[in-house]
Amino acid sequence: MDLDLKKSTALEIAKAIQERKLSSPEVTRAYLDAAKADFEKAPGDTTKINAYASLGEEAAMAQAQAAQKRIDAGEAPSPLAGVPVALKDIICTTEGTTTASSKILTGFRAPYDAGVVDRMRAAGLVFLGKTNMDEFAMGSSTETSHLGITRNPWDTARVPGGSSGGSAAAVAAGLAPFALGSDTGGSIRQPCALTNLTGVKPTYGSVSRYGLMAYGSSLDQIGPMAKDAADAAALLAVISGKDERDSTSVMEKPFDFSDINMKEIKIGIPRNYFGMPGLADDVKACVLGAAETFRALGAKAIDIDLPLIDYAVPTYLIIACAEASSNLSRYDGVKYGYRSPDAADIHDVYYKTRSEGFGTEVKRRIILGSFVLSSGYFDAYYKKALQVRGLIRAAFDKALEGCDMILSPATPTVAFEIGGKIQDPIAMYLADIYTTSVNLTGLPGLAAPCGFGEGGLPVGMQLIGRAWEDGRLLSAVKAYQGATDFHKRWPA
């Protein structure tokens, strides 16, 4: 097989490795070389994608050689053995650094592997490096990274989305076959939509958060970002499962990824989602086009009521920032990472370290979190948001009694220009209008390619399902991708 870094899927690579048409070190070397060529471009170079925060060249080659040895001995540990993968810079590995793309974690080397890393190691996957992201996953454009912006391979004047923008850009640009991201309010789905990838925010509790640096603990979930549904399913199968080290890990049985008969599937279309003032015509047309394709595949597409979308972003912001202000209190300049060189006393160690170590968006969210949790405002904001969260969950549960899955846009527009929203926090938060509800409810949601809009830029649809039915969502997209070829187009 001729390896095409951009076009070859992870499963195609896996098959070629199993059939001895390619070796794991050969594939790993090719991706590392491509990633390194971009990594070594000057920071100001507008052709630099800047997908990676750090590359783990030596460790990756050693892992590839070890995987190849086992394959050659007829002891391949999994169907994905020897295939390289990129990890978001928020997932701890004992090799290399994990910095959440923040100055405050400069040079941090994790003392343990994340739960998902244990699982991927056992499956024989090879880690290329860590991908750039919005600092501590706070952002929707990868512009808040301490390590510089990441560019969208489809148009380098535009953002790749965020916060998992580095993972998205790496896969779209052919610098990794697939990648892991994390999603607190849309951070896997929104960048996948903006870069023509398939990505899943799995059911809360299905993928271990052990070793995932915490942002909003009741919302965070790690998930796959891939070129198609089959690759995403293969990676999700590896990383999902119960982990005793995460008390919110509650998966009882593996996801069912078997093919589904689309004639038995009822897809709900929340009409009000398509009437939102911020929704661009090109996105709307592509997603409604996807509904027609599902119909042509035999599914029933019906109109449904799904109220409360206008309340999702404010509810999400209150809860995510409250949890963040607590979670990020651990960065104190004592235990790890950066300490201000000007810290003369213990007060300075905390205040100066945090003031110098965190970027603007992180400070904004910590302050907002401190506000909604502070005495006098707690009931009006935090308690209120928790109550509205319950209402949103009830609305989704009710909608999913009348249909198997919900189809909506993943984002209101195609990729926006670099610098376009960074000065306007609320405009940036609204980039996640279609995705935040899914985290609030804990339900699974995915984004997948469904067409091209303004300027030939990719458009993504979102499918939301019942808890633990992640496999069915991916099977529906697999059927869709059997009938369409949007996912088979790559940036020039």
């Binding site: 912001l317 790890y336 990472g337 302050i367 319950g390 969950r393």
Partner: protein
């Protein structure tokens, strides 16, 4: 809601952040804008409704309390900005 100097200073203190004069003004404005946007939640009557703190019905799950972790002192101290032997070191916190 108007955010005055006293409130932003109190919030910065709760957050263990030092804000420059310019940053203070910027964060005041952000917070006012974001809170105005959040006013939207006031439209919903939530009186007496339960608070959803977690995506799923949470139940306590018990297990035997077995020691599974090992001594990782060196690994954990290895990332500290400053240490003294087996301790994290910080500037003097208590006056003599």
């Amino acid at each position: 809601m108007k955010i005055d100097d006293r409130l932003i200073e109190y919030l910065a203190d709760l957050s263990r952040l030092e804000l420059s004069g310019e940053e203070k003004e910027a964060r005041k404005k952000d917070l006012e804008d974001i809170l105005a946007y959040m006013e939207k939640l006031g439209e919903l009557d939530t009186q007496g409704l339960p608070e959803m703190t977690h995506p799923f019905e949470a139940q306590n799950r018990f297990r035997e309390d077995e020691v599974a972790n090992r001594d990782r002192r060196e690994e954990l101290l290895g990332g500290a900005p400053d240490r003294s032997g087996p301790y994290f070191r910080v500037p003097r916190a208590v006056e003599e």
